[in-house]
Amino acid sequence: MAGPDGTETESAPAGNAHDGETSPRDPRNTPRVPIRIEEAAAAAAMALICLITFANVVVRYLTNASFAFTEEISVFLLVVLTLVGAAAAFARDLNIRVLFFAEMLPARPRRALELIGMALSAVLFMLVAWYGWRFFLDDWKYGTTSPGLGIPQWMYSIWLVVLSAAIVARVAGRLWRVWRRG
């Protein structure tokens, strides 16, 4: 299997973590839109989560005041981090999957299974984007505000649509590369 942890350490012996846009499983497999975009966004989300939480701790110690409302932003950043990172993981084929049985198959059926898996991933995130869009429309129409900060809820829900669409695009890109490779 390839795990989140396995992938982390996969390139460790070579001394460099994922170098740029190459997939450890298939070095020829380079998307045209650089994955650096997702990387930078995911790193920024991670850094912001840490800074907000740390600021919270410091402020609580100095003033006894609580910044609990910032939880809303941290939790939103968690959603962004996941979906953006997932887009990169789909492009690089780093998602956890059981390869044990598939690897016993000859090349052609194995490739067919891989294409099916990617097509299903694309369908799943199309569904998420579509129903996320309907959520966004509801939030927009009824002017829902967030419970913590009181800002319009659609400012959060739109990102589920945008980032799910980004995942669909990444999956489609990889599907195309694997298909063309034959």
């Binding site: 299997m1 795990g3 989140p4 942890d5 396995g6 982390e8 350490t9 460790a12 012996p13 973590a17 994922h18 990387e39 995911a42 790193a43 989300a45 991670m46 989560i49 840490c50 939480t53 740390f54 701790v57 939880e71 941290s74 939790v75 939103f76 968690l78 959603v79 981090l81 996941t82 979906l83 990172g85 997932a86 990169a88 993981a89 789909f90 780093l94 998602n95 956890i96 999957r97 059981v98 044990f100 049985f101 598939a102 194995r110 299974l113 099916i116 898996g117 299903l120 991933s121 369908v123 799943l124 569904l127 998420v128 984007a129 579509w130 129903y131 996320g132 309907r134 589920l160 799910s164």
Partner: protein, 425 residues
């Protein structure tokens, strides 16, 4: 519908479809086919992720990685080597202890095993330990990282089972984690004596105090993480963030091993690994919604309860099932898949959920180094440059000894529950 949910998922899983997709798509199809509210497909993705307790997961992953990249492992090896001294099998003992200690900083088995393997394999090979043995012992000892707090697996468990708290579960993991790690001393010492490894141990050892001073920055990390949790001053997420900033300080100012580029890389890599795990959590949200609305999980639990009403037999069955699953998948995925089905069973027998969490995780730990699909072994054998089949004659004994530790915790729940009770959780 229930058969479509479980059957569809299983078929896709075996076919090598990404686990997140397999969970999400079967869940979504069942939601659409059975009219369970199509909007829930999107809302479950969002609400499964937008949870404050889940914030601890990426931050603990980041903290573990910062310490790993800062080079804490090498300093710990130097210190523990000085502590153990030259003797038969000393290096194997050092490897086990350092793995366990790193487990107290990071919560991920393969990362832990990789860090120690990179540092220790060359010196162990020089002293006559076969690389296949070294890879086995480090892979096995590295697996204790998911038991010894902080543990990513435990964080996920508490997100799924909110009545168990993170500090309580972390405390519950301490003694079983130590037992699991120390159980490995038995086969490694026997082998070392039998084959005379480490008899010509001529490694230069620095003075104990000097090594202690170097390693003290790393040695302090678990105290900071667990101490903050213990006093109740920090939430788990905050404790993890404090560890991140401490690790950042150690890496940039003290050891000077991390530069700006390195820091960026740590942020990217930890974010991506977190995203892979959390995507499964998000998609499992769709699956869980479909399964619980249909009553499929309860039906499955009933079916299992129909097989036997005998608690010991049931527990043994569950352990076997989890052990097999643990060889294929990581702890997070297994919790997401099995907990909805196992929770009703745990409640039916009146088992303690904290104890059960520890038992489940011990199975996952053993699965991490049981061939042929062991993640930890995959990592260490690659570093050692040996095939996984060459480790079988060694690693199976380690599986047996850790199964012994598992049996102890299963037979005496107090091994897990004493410490959290003592600490008043």
């Amino acid at each position: 519908m229930s058969w479509l949910l479980f059957g569809g998922f299983l078929v896709l899983l075996v076919a090598g479809v990404p686990l997140a997709t397999a969970l999400g798509i079967t869940g979504a199809l069942v939601v659409l086919a059975a009219n369970l509210g199509a909007m829930s497909i999107a809302s479950n993705v969002y609400s499964s992720l937008a949870k404050y307790p889940l914030l601890a997961l990426p931050v603990f992953i980041l903290a573990g990685m910062i310490f790993e990249r800062a080079g804490v492992a090498a300093k710990l090896v130097a210190f523990v080597s000085a502590l153990v001294g030259p003797r038969h099998g000393a290096q194997a003992v050092v490897a086990i202890l350092v793995c366990m200690f790193l487990g107290g900083i990071s919560g991920s088995g393969p990362a832990d095993a990789a860090a120690v393997a990179m540092v220790m394999l060359p010196s162990m090979t020089r002293q006559g330990y076969p690389p296949a043995f070294s890879a086995s012992i480090i892979a096995a000892a590295g697996s204790t990282a998911i038991l010894i707090p902080p543990s990513i697996a435990f964080v996920i468990f508490t997100v799924l089972v909110p009545q168990v708290s993170v500090p309580a579960l972390f405390a519950a993991g301490v003694i079983p984690g130590l037992l699991a790690g120390l159980s490995l001393l038995v086969p490694s010492t026997i082998f070392a004596w039998k084959y005379g490894w480490g008899a010509n141990d001529a490694t230069e050892r620095r003075g104990l105090l000097r090594a202690l001073k170097d390693a003290s920055w790393g040695l302090a990390a678990p105290i900071i993480i667990l101490g903050g949790l213990r006093t109740g001053a920090f939430t788990p997420t905050e404790a993890a963030v404090v560890a991140v900033f401490y690790g950042f300080f150690v890496g940039t100012v003290v050891y000077r091993t991390l530069d700006v580029r390195g820091l960026y890389r740590v942020l990217v890599d930890s974010a991506e690994i977190s995203a892979v795990v959390m995507l499964i959590i998000a998609c499992a949200g769709i699956f869980a919604h479909a399964g619980s609305t249909l009553g499929a999980f309860d039906a499955m639990a009933k079916a299992m309860l129909g097989v036997t009403q005998e608690p010991h037999l049931m527990l043994a069955m569950i352990m076997l099932l989890l052990l097999a699953a643990g060889m294929m998948l990581d702890a997070a995925s297994i919790f997401l898949i099995f907990l909805p089905i196992l929770t009703p069973i745990v409640n039916a027998f009146g088992w303690n959920m904290t104890w059960f969490a520890v038992l489940m995780t011990m199975n996952m730990a053993i699965g991490q180094f049981t061939p042929p699909m062991a993640v930890n072994l995959l990592v260490t054998t690659r570093i050692a440059g040996v095939g996984m089949e060459s480790t079988v004659r060694w690693v199976l004994w380690m599986v047996v000894s850790m199964l012994g530790a598992l049996a102890l915790v299963a037979a005496f729940p107090q091994l897990a529950l004493w410490l959290p009770e003592r600490l008043g959780y």
